[in-house]
Amino acid sequence: MSESLLEAWNRPPTIEVDGEGELLEVAMGPHHPSTHGVFRMDVVLDGERVIKLKPVFGYLHRNHEQIGQTVGYLQMMPYTDRLDYFCSLTNNWAYALAVEKLVGQAVPERAEYIRVILAELTRIQNHASTIGFLTQEMGASGTPLMYAFREREKILDLFESLTGSRMMCNYMRFGGCRVDMTEAHLNAARKIVTGLPRFIDEFENLLTSNEILMARSQGMGVLKPDLAVNAGITGPMLRASGVNYDIRKVDHYGIYDRFSFRVPLGEHGDIYDRYMVRVLEMRESLKILEQALKDIPAGPFIDPKAKIRGFKPKPGEAYGRIEAPKGELGFYLISDGGTSPYRFRIRPPSFINLTVLEDMCIGQNVADVVVVFGSVDIVLGEVDR
């Protein structure tokens, strides 16, 4: 490889070791109290400073892709719930979108509205919990997380009354949704949406100007925009680095071009910006929700011609992607004309967002590694699949 190409590949920075004392190798995880799950980081330390960090994956590798190639198209839908188990509805949507693209299935207008409403509610509860976990990792033992979960429970109650399950909704179908969102459900959603701004205000009162949070997050774990783009980072983490790329705005999938909302961008690309971008995204999601709940039309919630059983797409392939709360979630399907896909691939945002974990952690103290890691917002079910 020539030197210029080496340069093109943004290598993680190397830093100088001060030469006194020995280097210490620590395996953080897979059972580690601070991490989000069974994730391991092999860290080399010089004193407290991180010299090298290698993530180790696979402790929750559940063979989703293999299962996707053995079960049918519909049967895969409940499995997608378990990918990013905070946001089962956006996972459903991404998968349904990919299959709809593969067979050219249209979706009725009402179903699109229902999808937007549920996806944005999912985004809000995901971001609230993420901030809760992030502060937990900074040492705020429980309070913000408890407030976040209090609001999350309200949203989960709506999900349960609509889809039957709190977390694993299995709600979307190719060409629409499984059941209709009745007026009672819509009113429940409206009630949640009117209550949420006060919660976000309280949350911000609690955290945004908190000196400890600022000290732990400002200037920490900085990610430069050019590296972020090159490393395929997506979602709030990319936008915190100042790159304006939101698939809702770029692809206009579903009916997102009908709503007016802004894409919050960060300036410094540090942990604090990532926190702020998430808070602002919650507010933008509320805007979308208000519009969607006002405009939702009457009509069928699933294309009456849509096939549920005996689904056999023609040979071909499709890549469908959406802006999931964690970033770009894509499903790549190759059909050979059979009842199950020939190749089923999930493009997981949290897995690829971890590419730059080492770059962000090098030179930081070991106590900050978990905070940087928490700010990436990952879910292990999706990282390892």
Binding site: M1, L5, L6, A8, W9, N10, R11, F57, G58, H61, N63, E65, Q66, K101, L102, V103, G104, L227, V229, N230, A231, G232, I233, V243, Y245, V250, P313, K314, P315, G316, E317, A318, Y319, R321, E328, G330, Y332, I334, S335, Y342, R343, R345, R347, F351, I352, L354, T355, V356, D384
Partner: protein, 222 residues
């Protein structure tokens, strides 16, 4: 954005010697992909990233696909001399016979790259590379030096499919443990026998469970 044909010509003019082929996509999405030969893939990818008009700076998705050896049988009519007895004299006569011909198309492993542009907000351009076969010629150039996004994803393809990416800075197993020997996402992979308790088995699982039961009972009998 340029069409696939235009991108093909653009690469062919920029990278001399590159052999490209358009792989059609039969689904309504009609996202056709570009098959690029392994020798020129790196240069072609670099061109795609740096070209001012395309500027595909964002590699979204890298994945492997395993295509097994394909056996096709077709009936062909062949004319060949056949010995025949005509009026008591053996002579060679040309005759048309129908024969079934078996052709084995060797399988290959494929790496698929989905490219988008964050600067220009367009995409996707789909790039494919194929290995020579599924056993010993499984090397492909790594595109990690061009897009860092490929770093973990190529490792995953190596882990699950066994494609060796030359030029990858850190090609190790990523999801399975280091001592693991198989490539579990290949289509001919057989998983280990742990079918002791399958109370609701049918089809394949039932066969495996019965085989397991038979094996353990004969073992116990001996």
């Amino acid at each position: 954005m340029k069409t696939v044909e235009e991108i093909k010509t653009a690469i062919e003019t920029a990278v001399s010697g590159a052999q490209l082929e358009i792989v059609p996509n039969g689904s309504p999405s009609a996202e056709h992909s570009l098959l690029v030969d392994a020798a020129h893939a790196f240069a072609a990818a670099k061109f795609l990233r740096d070209d001012a008009e395309l500027k595909l700076d964002f590699l979204s998705n890298v994945t492997g696909v395993d295509w097994l050896d394909k056996e096709t049988t077709e009936k062909v009519k062949v004319t060949r001399p056949v010995e025949k007895e005509v009026n008591g004299v053996k002579t060679m006569v040309d005759e048309t016979v129908e024969e079934t011909k078996k052709t084995v198309t060797p399988g290959y492993l494929e790496a698929v790259y989905h490219l988008y542009s964050m600067a220009k907000k367009h995409g996707p351009v789909i790039l494919r590379m194929r290995t020579g076969n599924r056993s010993d010629k499984v090397e492909l150039p790594s595109l990690t030096p061009i897009w860092r996004a490929a770093e973990f994803q190529e490792r995953e393809v190596f882990d699950l499919f066994g494609i060796i990416f030359t030029g990858h800075p850190d090609l190790r197993r990523i999801l399975m443990w280091d001592g693991f020997k198989d490539y579990p996402m290949r289509r001919d992979y057989v998983d280990p026998d742990d079918y002791e308790y399958e109370p609701t088995a049918h089809d394949d699982v039932l066969k495996r469970a019965q085989a397991h039961l038979a094996a353990t009972t004969t073992e116990a009998a001996q």
